[in-house]
Symmetry: C2
Subunit: 700 residues, 2 copies
């Protein structure tokens, strides 16, 4: 991880492609650097000018007496390589490449970008962009961008893969009075990526919240590592677009980004402690919440209102967002009962009634905030005749200081009559909305963060002592030599057995006599299954016989299977018939693995059997950084868990055995990147132990 | 259904409890009536005044020379009965009772309210309230309320069970420039309810959209009838609160409303064509959309943007909301290719690039709106350097007129730089947001309405010729005589058989010999089941024996079951053992019925068997107004449907037979209100026909 402090605090910045013409990007950048109050040297570079905006202009970057530390490039793409080379030779440390015309334009651009990156690597320069708006830091301060303005100072770092989003949010932020610590436009992310800036912002003392808009991540494992550590320090909130099928197409046509599957992103965010915003309003509502309010200790919300209806709306929403309506202590209830009018509702939501002035709001809010069973509070103000919005807002501001550990939100439900009150709230850093719902959504996001920040940042990889790598390697070697990518059932059983996973003994028989011999050894009864890498649904082609309890049945079963398969699929290569010891029935589950191109293996767990695809009761986790407690929660969030615990009087199954199989499958996937997919369906979970019945493994 | 035109257009209005003191409710009402431009006679009534706000004041309502048509009551609750009586005698037609202190305060208030309603009924007066803010109509005009103001004229009728919500929305509406046709505060709904005002607004030529905030409905079947007809004429959008467990408590503690279960409301709204808003922002976004835009012909949305990122965000959201990204015709694509710069994205979302001026937006929008494959369009504007928000907004306004049938939405993604453009859009009735998502949500609501408005308003009840009411009546009579509310399996089978539902033949045997005799008649093999109204899970107590294929097995099975049950449940009354013909296995489904106190019977359908509660694959519909096509969609929306169609090579099941059973169960529930619950689980659906295996019926 490289330290980016210097990128935001360079001693001097050369602006290559600086211009005298107002409105030109090369002019806007110079003005932005001057106007933001940057403390270092601003060095415009343009061979045709001697002075720009009152600053001496240099013909080229190597003509600057004392070499610059950073260069901002706003020159045609074709010239950028040559200029970067000169910058490298001059010992510059950072390039901010505004210039477009790279990867986003197609093949030639991609090649240009590759060469540009090569130059940066050669000279040990770090690069932001190309094809970006630039970067801003209100605390440094620096404005190395062509944005029309500079954000208000604040504590939100906004990292965006879309340059337009930077311009939009900047313009909008003035209107709503939102301040930022940093604005970073990632552009094509040829060198520096979201992960670098998340890591940097997590160490920045001026940043309280990290906000990202991304369309993909550049390096899955690196992102996970960075996000896991950053999210323990401060909230990392991400809007990831390109989640839809259609959206993913738009993403790849736009920035040439290859969007990973959304499932992997969803899982990656969840496991690394990233809070995922579902839409743009939520992204910024959460940012405001975290920037202005403490993280709540828990999920119990108190509601104060001067009207029943909005109180009910808020209550609904609290339950909807998996929060809890706080239950007050006896003392709180007593106290409310003594002070508030008799018709008030003194339970949560507290209704101080339509004729409430500020004092009643003040009293009720103070009382509930003092209650140890309340983690956060929302105040809903409707404009009744005697309502005192200004005084109510002032009371809230005061109580925010009295109870600095409990987040406080407001809905000023109206227009002009409440405007001054709303203004006071915003000034007092109490997020204020028109309707209750966004306040509740914000609290919900904060609560989910309260759980994240206490998680350990480091995870110990699952380790097992009794693993036989050699057998797996040998099996894969044989399979590849046979020009196959699909393992036979017996091979797959061998592989998982080598990783200590209990599999029903399965051996390949080439003829009826071999089958009988295997059965004699395994013990009766047995199951026969056709062995062919091409046949996925063996039952559908008459390729399975169960419960064979004599030599005669095995012999005739073998022949029947061969006949059936040849009749259904005359041209499919058949390797023989597999003999499997018939296992007693248990709870049917599926344990599997699929590999995501961005984030690596995803472990799957759920209800097994033939209805897997119909019931879709499956949970996923990335193997990267997977912990035993996460495997536990994978199990717990499925319906299969209900069966495992013993459904309708059945004995509970051995969940520990299931857990171990999952851990070993994860380890197998991590150890062998050539495994594309593992499907163990069903696993029978017994009262004691578990057994893998049918195992499919494909490699690449 | 009564005509409420007179309520909004009375020739004269007495204001009883009128006051001279500014700020008092009795004074605000008089001023509101004067200021709104009301055309009829305003008649203040107060025995202590002779003149109020320049109007002659009468000592009592019977001293008014020409009797008033309507009275607004703002007097203490205890006086209201006496005054209502006088109003009745004077022949007044309408009472608007602002006065609080009725049902919402408890038992005594409820009694007072009952008496007040009695007086209204006696004199044939209709009443709004009590405990309400009043009513407003901007077209009549009339403002018989104590709200601080009068809405801008518009085409949205807002009906609210919360008075505070009326005050909030009124104040807020000025700020956002939203106009209304009517504002109705329902109060306690002693006489006139939401249904009355929905019916009225559906006939009102000045109303285009009906908006409701409700906490419950007063009369389920009446509401369904009204909503079904109203929703075919204009959109009916409802925010129903009290959906959460906690919210329902708040609802009943607040207005004494008894909230029905949310499932019944959800189903009632869906079946009657009501659009359910999920939260307050959505409620008003939808109102603005419907008031200003035509209803789209379909779900295909075009997106025009000057930036990739927001385009992807919109695309994601379109898929999320079950809308479709429009696919352009070859002509549209060609046309875009010819005019737009080469780097533009000419497929949906159309990216006109960051350097687009208004002409490019204009051309692109015109081109896609002309495409027959586009039903609606969203334009996203980011504030790049050369962006022309004002001209772009003007171009959109012009295109709205050119394409009056295609709804058009905008997101002006920024602040001050786009403000004037946003203003022009709002003035031109193009809904404009800061972020793309609310625009998409609005389109989604409009599309769902486009499906509703073409549905028939009248539904023919499902009718069957071969129904034997008598047998059912006789069975229920016997069961009640036996002091039971739970039918035995054999009785339940008899009941459904009487309704033409094929049930596996089931007869009660009191001893082993009877069981054998029954089996001889039914045919072998048979199933034996313990018969006891107290035993719900027969298998769990050893009360079931299947596949008995001989007299001996039946005799011993009978005794074993009795032994088992006596051992497990020594004190439970046992009626004998039921003998059921053993049916071949089919696709296991459940068909059931549960009765909602507000909306009557709910029909249920889903995956059957012992995992019903675990898998929760069940769909519901109200029996009220149920059509065959709705039963079809009930089936289609479950996973059970996949099984019925033939899963993994199985033969398809007889869906028509299933459909008929569902229709007959619905009919049975409608015919016998004493049936509380029906549970047929499983029904075996065969390739031909279906059979009910286990039937549970409880009555009240």
């Amino acid at each position: 991880m490289s330290d980016l402090t210097g990128l935001f605090n360079p001693k001097s910045v050369a602006i290559i492609g600086a211009s005298k013409s107002p409105g030109k990007i090369g002019n806007v950048i110079v003005k932005n650097m001057i106007n933001c109050g940057y403390n270092g040297k601003i060095l415009p570079v343009n061979p045709r000018e001697s002075e720009i905006e009152g600053l001496q202009c240099y013909p080229s970057v190597d003509k600057i007496p004392e070499p610059a530390e950073m260069a901002v490039l706003s020159v045609p793409a074709v010239k950028s390589l040559e200029i970067a080379e000169v910058c490298g030779k001059q010992g510059l440390k950072y390039l901010v490449v505004i210039t477009a015309g790279f990867k986003e334009t197609g093949k030639e651009g991609l090649e240009l970008e590759r060469k540009l990156l090569e130059i940066c690597r050669k000279y040990n320069m770090r690069m932001l962009g190309p094809n970006c708006v630039g970067l801003m830091d209100t605390h440094a301060p620096i404005n190395a961008s062509f944005a029309a303005g500079f954000p208000l100072q604040g504590e939100i770092a906004f990292i965006s893969q879309s340059g337009a989003m930077v311009l939009s949010i900047l313009d909008w932020s003035y209107k709503v009075g939102l301040g930022f610590s940093k604005f970073i436009s990632l552009g094509n992310k040829a060198d520096l990526t979201e992960a670098d800036f998340i890591a940097d912002a997590s160490e920045d003392s001026n940043t309280k919240v990290i906000l990202c808009y991304i369309e993909d991540v550049e390096n899955g494992p690196h992102f996970l590592d960075v996000a896991r550590r950053a999210s323990r320090k401060k909230p990392v909130i991400i809007l990831k677009s390109g989640t839809s099928q259609a959206g993913a197409q738009a993403a790849s046509s736009h920035t040439g980004a290859l969007a990973g599957s959304d499932l992997a992103y969803e899982t990656a965010f969840q496991q690394s402690g990233v809070i995922r915003a579902r839409n743009m309003p939520e992204l910024f509502d959460l940012a405001v919440a975290f920037a202005n309010q403490p993280v709540p200790q828990g999920d119990r919300v108190a509601v104060i209102t001067n009207s029943g209806g909005p109180g009910i709306v808020a209550t609904d929403n609290i339950e909807d967002k998996n929060l809890k309506m706080a239950r007050f202590t006896k003392e709180t209830v007593e106290s409310l009962r003594n002070y508030l009018p008799a018709e008030s509702n003194i339970y949560n939501p507290v209704d101080v009634l339509g004729d409430a002035k500020a004092d009643r709001f003040h009293f009720a809010l103070q009382t509930v905030l003092a209650d140890p069973g309340v983690d956060s509070a929302v105040v809903l103000v409707c404009p009744a005749a005697v309502t005192e919005p200004v005084e109510t807002a002032r009371a809230m501001a005061q109580l925010k200081n009295e109870f600095p550990d409990k987040p406080l939100f407001a809905a000023m439900m109206g227009g002009a009559r409440l405007e001054e009150g709303a203004r006071i709230l915003s000034e007092s850093h109490i997020p204020c909305f028109t309707f209750p719902e966004p306040a509740i959504t914000s609290i919900s996001g904060m609560v989910s963060y309260s759980r994240i920040k206490n998680l350990p940042a480091k995870t110990n990889p699952l380790s097992f002592g009794d693993i036989d790598l050699k057998t797996v390697k040998a099996t894969f070697y044989d399979v590849k030599k046979d020009n196959r990518l699909v393992l036979l059932g017996s091979e797959a059983a061998e592989v998982i057995s080598a990783y200590g996973i209990p599999a029903a003994p399965t051996v390949l028989a080439l003829n009826p006599d071999q089958a009988v011999a295997h059965a004699d050894r395994l013990g009766y009864p047995v199951v026969l299954k056709i062995a062919s890498p091409k046949i996925l649904h063996k039952t559908d082609v008459g390729g399975v016989k169960v419960g064979l309890d004599s030599r005669e049945k095995i012999s005739s079963g073998f022949m029947e299977i061969m006949d059936n398969v040849h009749r259904y699929l005359p041209h499919v290569a058949v390797y023989g018939v597999e003999v499997q010891k018939m296992m007693p029935r248990g709870v049917e589950i599926i344990i599997g693995m699929t590999r995501d191109i961005q984030f690596g293996p995803l472990l799957a767990f759920g209800l097994g059997g033939i209805y897997v695809n119909l019931l879709k009761d499956v949970s996923f986790r990335l193997v990267n950084g997977l912990t035993e407690s996460e495997i536990n929660s994978m199990i717990a969030e499925t319906k299969a868990y209900t069966l495992l615990r013993g459904y309708r009087g059945e004995k509970p199954a051995d969940i520990d055995a299931v857990l171990k199989i999952m851990g070993r499958v994860a380890r197998l996937a991590a150890d062998f990147p050539e495994i594309n997919e593992i499907d163990i369906n069903p696993v029978f979970a017994y009262n004691q132990g578990a057994s893998a019945l049918d195992v499919k493994i494909t490699i690449s």
